[in-house]
């Protein structure tokens, strides 16, 4: 089980979702993906869409400023 990190804090819609989805497709089942993202659309919807697609959101934590870290298990 490996842990991967993805920083989408500089990305805009739709690439926030696109990069997360492509990364989740690349990693192996059971791997962890830590996504760094900003408040607003990414924070509201990345965890939601990951859950809807059958991934497990293990946690959301505030990093600094408007940046948060969402931990997803594939």
């Amino acid at each position: 089980m490996a842990t991967h990190t993805l920083d989408i804090t500089k990305e805009h819609c739709p690439m926030t979702f696109v990069k997360t989805k492509l990364k989740l497709a690349q990693i192996s089942d059971g791997d962890i993906l830590e996504v760094l993202l900003t408040e607003g659309e990414p924070l509201n919807n990345v965890p939601k869409s990951a859950t809807e697609q059958g991934f497990k959101v293990l946690g959301i934590e505030h990093v600094s400023g408007n940046i948060h870290k969402v931990t997803i298990e594939k």
């Binding site: 739709p14 979702f17 696109v18 989805k21 492509l22 809807e52």
Partner: protein
């Protein structure tokens, strides 16, 4: 995850840079959040999926070849407003890059990477003298209205 798969079908009629940007933004975004996405390219929209992305004489006879050259491919798509003889799309591409927003080409790449289904309109291809081999290999099939309706049934459909 819900049992029923969400579905979005887009009819890409326009070959304009800005409208194609809307098509591929919706397509890649929807595919990324788990939708099945279908794009049906017709008329000017077919320019977006041509293998030759610049200007080339694709077509069946002299007239359609001239049309093919004038219509061009993805890289020469004009903007619907502020085209300024082709300068508009260059300015928009620069602005998009500067603001870290995905360019049209990146959105197309993301859409195909996420498995968006691309279809070409058989009737428009016939009129413009285009063959499936003139399109990028990701184009799944050549369709008519009946098949498109079948494919899009049960989801949302937009005309752009």
């Amino acid at each position: 995850m819900s049992d029923e798969k969400k579905k979005l079908s887009l009819i890409a009629f326009s070959g304009d840079f800005d409208k194609l940007t809307a098509v591929f933004t919706l397509a890649s975004g929807a595919a990324a959040v788990g939708y099945e996405v279908n794009i049906f390219f017709t008329f000017w929209g077919l320019d977006a999926i041509k293998q030759k992305k610049g200007r080339s004489f694709v077509g069946g006879n002299l007239l359609t070849k001239i049309f093919g050259f004038m219509m061009g491919g993805l890289h020469v798509a004009p903007t619907s407003r502020f085209n300024f003889c082709g300068l508009g799309p260059r300015i928009f591409r620069k602005l998009m890059k500067k603001n870290n927003v995905a360019t049209l080409e990146e959105l197309v790449e993301a859409s195909t990477a996420l498995g968006v289904n691309l279809y070409a309109c058989e009737m428009a291809m016939h009129v413009l003298g285009l063959k499936q081999s003139d399109f990028i290999h990701e184009v799944k099939d050549t369709l008519g209205v009946a098949t498109f309706l079948e494919i899009s049934e049960g989801g949302r459909t937009m005309f752009i």
